[in-house]
């Protein structure tokens, strides 16, 4: 695609209007240099200004402000007093729902992400086998990823119905008596993991393009050495795409830690029921902020999540050097 886009103006020739041509300036060279440096800086910053202003107003500023809020008892309307570490103490010591939400979220991250990673690698491996109709299958598997939002949650609520739902109908076909999914506290989180597996298109596409860029000679050399298909997958494909696996796991984990909409829409009372089994971290945070208007407490929760996410990313990076293989040996 890029080639096409670039060749178009090149081949058709760039026609620059006559008004562009100015008579050569007769400034002194040094003056010109310092002036042009200023101009360069000014032009550069004028281009990034929209983002820079947005960053200060919508991201950077709010980030610092929320750090401050996390040490207060702010409630939007009246009070905003400094309470020190009270919010954090309350979080760890006297809010049982906080620990419940931490447990639910960790469950979702550490069960859900491995399943979706393995699933995405499996699908992309099958798709890279150049079989008839691979393009169609790729499109089909990617489609659920672009479908999201309440309509898809509604569809899944219907499919997960205990007696009339599609999932249990299919399980019954195989002689399995399916659980009550969204009404059974033990099965709500597996239900969301199942739903997650439906839309792993983004990861799948990442792996697919990584697999396509593995040099063909490596496979040929391994084949000559007598390595079978499965062995070639483990000694060549997996190590060669390991940087992408690493990247995908980090991104998926950060995403999974922030699971919210599914739980908000699919739990009956928007409160993470039944039995708080879908009360994820962000749902608890949302309820604290916008139902109880404990903004200070919610901000403290948000910052704790931020630290956890950063810590996990750092741990991932530290561990990665033991299993991620970078071609050419350059550490990125």
């Amino acid at each position: 695609m890029p080639e096409e886009a670039i060749s178009f103006p090149l081949s058709s020739g760039i026609s620059i209007p006559d008004t562009f041509y100015r008579s050569g300036s007769d400034d002194v060279a040094t003056q010109q240099r310092s002036r042009s440096r200023w101009k360069k800086t000014l032009t550069g910053y004028s281009f990034i200004a929209p983002w820079l202003i947005g960053f200060i107003v919508f991201t950077g500023g709010p980030l610092l402000f929320s750090l401050y809020v996390s040490f207060t008892n702010y409630d939007v309307t009246s009070r905003m007093d400094w309470v020190g570490l009270d919010n954090f103490k309350r979080m760890f010591n006297s809010d049982p729902l906080f620990w419940k939400s931490v447990y639910n979220t960790l469950w979702y991250v550490f069960i859900g992400v491995p399943f979706s990673t393995v699933g995405a690698i499996l699908l992309s491996t099958l798709l890279s086998q150049k079989v008839w109709g691979a393009g169609f299958f790729r499109m089909l598997f990617y489609m659920p990823t672009v479908l999201s939002g309440v309509a898809v949650y509604t569809l899944w609520m219907q499919m997960l119905g205990p007696s009339t739902g599609l999932v249990n109908t299919i399980l019954r076909f195989f002689g399995i008596d399916g659980p009550a999914w969204l009404s059974d506290p033990a099965w709500t989180k597996p239900a969301l993991v199942l739903m997650r597996l439906w839309s792993l298109g983004t990861s799948m596409m990442l792996y697919l393009s990584a697999m396509h860029s593995v040099p063909e000679q490596l496979y040929e050399a391994a084949e000559i050495d007598g390595a079978g298909r499965v062995r070639r997958f483990f000694i060549i494909t997996l190590p060669m795409i390991s940087p992408i696996i690493f990247f995908d796991i980090i991104v998926s984990m950060i995403g999974a830690f922030q699971v919210f909409q599914e739980a908000y829409v699919m739990s009956k009372d928007n409160q993470g029921g039944p039995a708080s089994s879908l009360l994820f971290y962000n749902l608890h945070l949302f309820n604290q902020a916008f139902t109880n208007f404990n903004m200070g407490y919610a901000a403290a929760m948000a910052w704790f999540l931020f630290l956890i996410v950063m810590a996990i990313t750092l741990v991932n990076m530290a561990v990665s050097k033991y299993w991620v293989h970078y071609e050419g040996g350059d550490k990125r």
């Binding site: 929320s66 079989v131 219907q158 499919m159 119905g161 084949e223």
Partner: protein
């Protein structure tokens, strides 16, 4: 090239080799076909349920094909709540989200890709860093900010921020602009064009496919956005389709035929756009994935 390699392999190892290759491809095809049911069956089930009578919806086991196709379920469900209004609101918000994303991100990305100024590297690192910040950390202070501005209850918190760029799109377009040869811009510059003119007259026309990717993705995100409208739209009249559908779930409870009918209609624009502009969705993945990897 791959064909000739396959050919070499066949001729080297003889026909038995070719046969086993074909058997494996057949197995892979069957696996893919089986997996494709996981996408197709839910879609079919959604459509079939939408067409059923209320009695048939609760039949257990469910029927795969409705005994009677109740086409007016679609119209009935759509008119049971002000979905026309919701559709209008969704379209309005999406229009601004797409317009803002296309203009602002390409402008900023050009600055990062083709201009040299002090601090460029630093700010670009910050952009990449912002992608790691969980949305909920900035959500609360943003809400407080919009509340102070008196914007809560209006569309403004949904339609103004897109004009200030988003990290993902800036990153993606920057990668695209990096592939444009510098000589092209330099020659235009030497001829006296300033960078705004170059961006508008030279870069925008040649970044059609990349901008289409931005447009398609930002439309998709805006259309599917639930949290933003949930926080900032308070009046039923200004609800988007996502909020309207959520409200509808509470109203009709388990009238699955109505719920599925509306869900079908809400998903329809996305499905059509995806099928029509597939390549742009996938291209977006490649453009962003290429460098992250």
């Amino acid at each position: 090239m791959r064909h000739s390699l396959a050919w070499n392999r066949c001729s080297k190892h003889g026909l038995g080799r070719k046969r086993s290759e074909q058997i494996i491809k057949g197995i892979v095809f069957l696996c893919l076909a089986a997996f494709s049911l996981t996408v197709l069956l839910p879609m079919w089930f959604m459509l079939a349920t939408a067409l059923k009578t209320p009695q048939e919806v609760f039949m257990s086991p469910p029927t795969w094909i409705p005994t009677r196709f109740v086409w007016h379920n679609f119209a009935d469900a759509w008119n049971a709540a002000p979905f026309n209004r919701y559709l209008l609101n969704s379209a309005f918000v999406a229009l601004f989200a797409v317009g803002g994303a296309v203009v602002s991100n390409s402008f900023v990305a050009y600055g990062f890709a083709k201009l040299d100024f002090p601090g460029r590297k630093f700010w670009f690192t910050i952009i990449l860093g912002t992608m790691m910040i969980p949305g909920f950390v900035t959500m609360i202070p943003q809400y407080i900010l919009f509340n102070k501005l008196g914007w809560v209850g209006t569309f403004l918190p949904l339609i103004v921020p897109p004009f200030f760029g988003s990290a993902f799109f800036i990153f993606m377009l920057r990668q695209f602009y990096m592939t444009i040869p510098n000589e092209l811009i330099e020659s235009a510059h030497i001829d006296g064009a300033n960078h705004y003119y170059i961006w508008w007259k030279l870069i925008i026309p040649m970044s059609g496919p990349a901008l289409a990717t931005v447009a398609v993705l930002s439309f998709n995100w805006s259309w599917n956005d639930f949290l933003g409208p949930l926080l900032y739209l308070t009046d039923n009249n200004s609800f988007t389709l996502q909020l309207g559908l959520k409200l509808f779930i509470g109203q009709v409870h388990t009238q699955w035929n109505y719920l599925m009918a509306v869900s079908c209609l809400v998903l329809l624009p996305i499905i059509v756009i995806f099928l029509a502009f597939q390549s742009y969705f996938l291209e977006g993945m490649n453009l962003s994935g290429a460098v992250k990897g």
